[in-house]
């Protein structure tokens, strides 16, 4: 469903993502873990076709993101980091626009719009410009946009960042509900989130894949909690100390 092979991104000789190979199947919620600047967002940008890799490839739903970009993008719903939205639009206009671009028509369009609006409780703010919405609502509009065409693959870059505990809980519930039929990749640096929603966790630092396992095994192997594991694998090697890229 989602396969990457030796996915690599270099900027001016600096390697941000280094030969990342992983695969993921529907029904899985893959947690992408790593310190800030580890290359999580860059990987997601490559998988969704926003930037092209320096080397390697990513296959989404059987379509190579570089050679068959549009077909791959059609089966992806993507929430970019910080949930960028057009501030002057209202959520209603924005979702209508996304429905147009996604080619949703007639009854199905109506159904999908109603469903995501209900799921994310956007009803009360539909006619308000996005500019004036709270962070929580903005994030939810971003999620609604990603889920609108009922994609097989959802890629969510820090979906709960900046939300209050109730909102976080709600989003996690939603991810769990959807996870049965879909393949979901979330990136986060919040460890409790991995425990709460992910069926598998990948830890990367400095662009390299360090661990690929279930959260349960991770904890068992680490002989303690996730935090210990995370700190151990991301800091013990001197090669991984130069963080701070993005």
């Amino acid at each position: 469903m989602l396969n990457t092979r030796d996915l690599t991104k270099r900027y001016d000789g600096h390697t941000v993502v280094d030969s990342l190979t992983f695969s993921c199947e529907p029904g899985e919620v893959l947690g992408f873990l790593g310190p800030n600047g580890a290359g999580k967002s860059t990987t997601m940008k490559m998988v969704t076709g926003f930037i092209s890799p320096s080397a390697g490839s990513a296959i989404v739903c059987g379509h190579d993101i570089q050679t068959d970009t549009l077909a791959a993008q059609r089966c992806i719903g993507y929430l970019a980091e910080g949930a960028p939205l057009y501030p002057e639009m209202t959520p209603k206009q924005f979702l209508d626009f996304v429905a147009d671009v996604r080619g949703l028509k007639g009854e199905r369009r109506h159904e999908r719009l109603n469903e995501v609006i209900a799921l994310l409780h956007l009803g009360p703010v539909l006619a308000q410009t996005i500019d004036t919405l709270s962070k929580g609502f903005k994030r939810r509009v971003g999620l609604a946009q990603a889920m609108l065409h009922d994609p097989d693959v959802l890629i969510l870059d820090e979906p709960t960042d900046g939300l209050d505990p109730n909102q976080k809980h709600e989003i996690r519930e939603l991810i769990r509900q959807m996870s049965k039929q879909k393949l979901i990749v979330i990136s986060t640096h919040i460890l409790e989130e991995v425990d709460a929603v992910c069926t598998r966790a990948i830890i990367i630092a400095d662009g390299r894949l360090l661990v690929d396992d279930t959260p349960k095994n991770l904890v068992a192997d680490g002989g303690g909690d996730l935090e210990t594991v995370f700190r151990r694998v991301t800091t013990n090697d001197t090669a991984y100390t130069s963080l701070g890229t993005s």
Binding site: F50, Q73, F97, V98, D100
Partner: protein, 244 residues
């Protein structure tokens, strides 16, 4: 095509969702009127045509249209929405075209709102309405050229001020490329064919041909080429700069 239409509608609507559209149109109309009546001597000339009106279009466009085009891509890059846009199943061509057409349509709306001057001149005398129509066509095409250049340059930067200034300078070059100011820089060392080539790039020559009421194929082809070339360049620039 439906995709281009969706992008076009979103973009055009965004102009009117903020005061940008209204401020622009009001200022545009006020300046047009001022230039035509005071600097152009519309009444004093005593002739029933719109020459003083069209003569100022290139100079007004030079400063006003880059203000429209500067936000096209610079703003998307600044707010990060370019990432949202380019991960939708949309090709760079569709995105560039949809946005450009919206900006062009907006300029067209502003231009169309100058119709009272056409009514005025028809009330005062009996002008050659064919020539006036040609003037409007030429002016609209020239606006397309300015906007295509501006759209392309705004993809280079995430800073709208930079996009504005660079666009004004480049458009100024295009306007003046038929004048000695620009040609003298080349005539000393470049072969005559290059100098002629540069001279024929001038917006002003092609526009004044059309606005005199002579719509010639080569002037139409010229503007089509300018627009096509810069929009193509726009997709290329977008390809390598969008993620910075």
């Amino acid at each position: 095509m439906n995709l281009v239409k969706a992008l076009f509608r979103r973009e055009l609507r965004s102009y009117f969702a903020t005061p940008v559209a209204y401020v622009f149109i009001v200022i545009f109309l006020i300046l047009m009127g001022t230039f035509t009546f005071y600097l152009g001597g519309f009444f004093e000339r005593g002739q029933a045509d719109l020459r003083p009106f069209f003569d100022f279009h290139p100079w007004l466009y030079l400063f006003l249209l880059p203000a429209i085009s500067m936000r096209l891509w610079a703003e998307e890059r600044k707010t990060g929405t370019v990432e949202f846009l380019m991960t939708l199943p949309v090709t760079p061509w569709q995105a560039v075209l949809g946005k450009f057409l919206a900006a062009w349509a907006f300029a067209g709306i502003a231009l169309a709102l100058t119709f009272p001057i056409w009514i005025t001149v028809n009330y005062l005398g009996s002008p050659d309405n064919g020539a006036i129509l040609a003037g409007y066509v030429g002016s609209f095409l020239m606006a397309g050229g300015f906007l295509a250049i501006g759209s392309c340059l705004s993809a280079f930067t995430r800073n709208q001020v930079i996009a504005f200034v660079i666009t004004v300078v480049v458009c100024f070059g295009f306007l003046l490329s038929g004048f000695p100011l620009v040609l003298n820089m080349f005539s000393g060392w470049a072969p005559q064919i290059v100098v002629d080539g540069i001279a024929s790039l001038s917006f002003l020559t092609h526009f004044s041909n059309i606005s005199r009421g002579v719509i010639e194929l080569r002037d139409l082809v010229y503007f089509a080429l300018v627009i096509g070339t810069f929009l193509y360049a726009n997709t290329v620039v977008l390809g390598w700069k969008k993620a910075d």
